[in-house]
């Protein structure tokens, strides 16, 4: 019995020490890159967290021009601020997150099942910058499945599609003012 108590005590001390070392060494700085082990553990945990019934689900909404376009509009409006229109994650927000917004065009995202992508969109991922978007409505679920169709399209987006997404990106009043001033300034010389 005494050995069990000593073992439990040592475990608690070890975990507290490890936690303290982690806090002091990282300062919980979000600009850092997660290590390989942490990334592996987090991805394994995420996979385990998705119920197997959902993980094995295929996208129930038919893939069509309309569903992909709907997903594209949704992505540009809600997701691109972190993930970028092209899914690269190369945005001010995406680069500042811990972990960084992933390059969704790569296998680490594209090899996730439809169900896993849907689950992540709907529920988000704790301890990351990924929020959950679940509304609990059929329309909301359909919208998330359309987003899954669009995520599959990310590696092959055309320049024209990227251009059309720009118009749907949320902008602050300051950004809108700059765009108006920019257009006037860049076109002014041509009109003389």
């Amino acid at each position: 019995m005494i050995f069990v108590l000593i073992g439990a005590g040592l475990t608690v001390v070890l975990m507290a020490t490890a936690g303290l070392v982690y806090l002091r060494a990282t300062g919980l700085d979000a600009m850092a890159q997660p290590g390989a082990l942490e990334t592996w553990v987090a991805r394994a945990a995420r996979r385990l967290a998705v119920p197997s019934a959902i993980r094995t689900m295929a996208n129930p909404t038919p893939k069509s021009a309309e569903s992909v376009t709907d997903g594209m509009a949704h992505f540009a409006d809600h997701c691109a601020v972190c993930h970028a229109n092209d899914g690269s994650g190369d945005t001010e927000m995406g680069r500042g997150l811990y972990p960084k917004a992933p390059d969704m065009r790569l296998d680490t995202t594209q090899q996730l099942s439809d169900g896993e992508l849907f689950y992540i969109v709907e529920h988000g991922i704790r301890f990351t910058g990924m929020p959950g978007w679940r509304t609990g409505t059929t329309a909301g679920e359909e919208s998330s499945w359309h987003l899954v169709h669009f995520i599959r399209r990310l590696p092959a987006l055309t320049p024209a599609e990227l251009e059309s997404m720009k118009a749907r990106n949320p902008r602050s009043p300051e950004e809108i003012r700059f765009e108006i001033e920019e257009e006037r300034f860049l076109n002014e010389g041509a009109q003389k």
Binding site: L14, A18, V21, Y22, Q33, A36, L37, E38, E92, L186
Partner: protein, 106 residues
């Protein structure tokens, strides 16, 4: 003892890579006129009277309207809108849009 060593190694593996930091600044935008071009350095006199020097790299895009150009299109006197980010005490140009004047004269 063995468990302690394993725990310490695991903790170190979690902590050490996380200390390699990637410092990136904020994205800025400016309007102005090219004052000089020297290799990868482009000096721009901004509309609010400041002079900034941005550095080009392989990722920098140069466009005029919808036309994609390369860095040779950057000429002194061109009106530009530049999007840049401070990185390692340098202003790295992400995107440079050229005014339509040059195209209109062609």
């Amino acid at each position: 003892m063995k468990n302690w060593i394993v725990a310490l190694v695991m903790t170190a593996a979690l902590v050490i890579p996380a200390t390699g930091r990637a410092h990136e600044g904020h994205l800025h935008k400016a309007l102005g006129t090219i004052a000089s071009v020297q290799g990868e350095h482009v000096e721009i006199k901004t509309n609010d009277g400041k002079a900034i020097t941005v550095m080009l790299d392989k990722k920098t895009t140069v466009t005029r309207g919808k036309e994609k150009l390369d860095a040779t299109a950057l000429k002194v006197g061109e009106r530009v809108s530049v999007e840049y980010m401070e990185s390692k005490k340098m202003l790295m140009a992400h995107a440079i849009k050229l005014g339509m004047a040059q195209a209109a004269r062609k």
